[in-house]
């Protein structure tokens, strides 16, 4: 779990440097935390020999965070809808939904082995910039 905290803190630092407000920082930190937890728990299945790889990039237009695990991969289309009435009282299954809700774009890519999630938050143009 220490790696999750480190990734969350690194993403928050990049969000601060990108000039994002507190709400946006919270959204990014939470989405990154959920993605990192998924990578460690569900992707790598807590196997200490498997690593997660994280890349954080400010392109000027976007803040992009890519998180890759070395697990068996998963199909994001098969994740149950946590907002469906029959799933509302489930204790789990909200992570991917939160990631999608809190970020502007989320991309899934199957690796061999593993899964890479790329989380994107659009940055507002700087004041006075055309």
């Amino acid at each position: 779990m220490e790696s999750v905290e480190e990734v969350e803190a690194a993403a928050d630092q990049m969000a601060i440097e990108a000039g994002l407000d507190e709400d946006q920082r919270f959204h990014i930190a939470m989405a990154v935390r959920e993605a990192a937890i998924n990578a460690v728990l569900h992707g790598n299945e807590y196997d200490p020999t498997r690593k997660i790889e994280v890349t954080i990039e400010n392109t000027g237009n976007d803040l992009k965070i890519a998180i890759a695990d070395e697990g068996r991969g998963f199909d994001p289309g098969k994740v149950p809808d946590p907002l469906a009435q029959e799933n509302l009282l489930r204790g789990t299954g909200r992570g991917i939904f939160l990631i999608r809700s809190l970020m502007d774009e989320v991309h899934f890519r199957q690796l061999h082995p593993g899964t890479e999630l790329t989380l994107v938050k659009h940055l507002a143009p700087a004041a006075g910039k055309t």
Binding site: M1, L83, L89, G91, R94, L98
Partner: protein
């Protein structure tokens, strides 16, 4: 900061004042244990004061839901008090706002159990 839990009784209602984070590996297990302990002692009225909860993740949200269903299955009632903006927004986003009975002030919350 991990989760701190302070318990007190008000008119037959156990008020659990939570402060800190309810996340995987931090507050989730503490909250689960606290709820199970209360229910095993026969407490039927539980109010979770979330006014000082500054962070909650999907695991923490799941733990709130589990606390609610555990209480309900044992014939107890669990309600929420004083949501911070972050927790409020997440409960709305996940539609859990429709599941819980939520109050802004303690007197109204306590009265609702009668």
């Amino acid at each position: 900061m991990a989760l701190a839990i302070a318990s007190r009784e008000v008119d037959g209602v156990t008020v659990l004042g939570l402060s800190g984070r309810i996340t995987l590996g931090e507050g989730s297990v503490q909250l689960r244990d606290a709820i199970r302990d209360l229910i095993s002692k026969g407490q039927k009225r539980i109010l979770l004061d979330l006014g000082d909860v500054n962070y909650i993740d999907s695991s923490g949200l799941g733990e709130l839901v589990s606390a609610y269903t555990t209480a309900r299955n044992q014939g107890a009632t669990l309600k929420l008090l004083k949501l911070t903006k972050k927790v409020h927004d997440l409960l709305q986003l996940t539609k859990l706002y429709t599941v819980f009975d939520i109050y802004d002030d303690e007197a109204s919350a306590i009265a609702s159990f009668k």
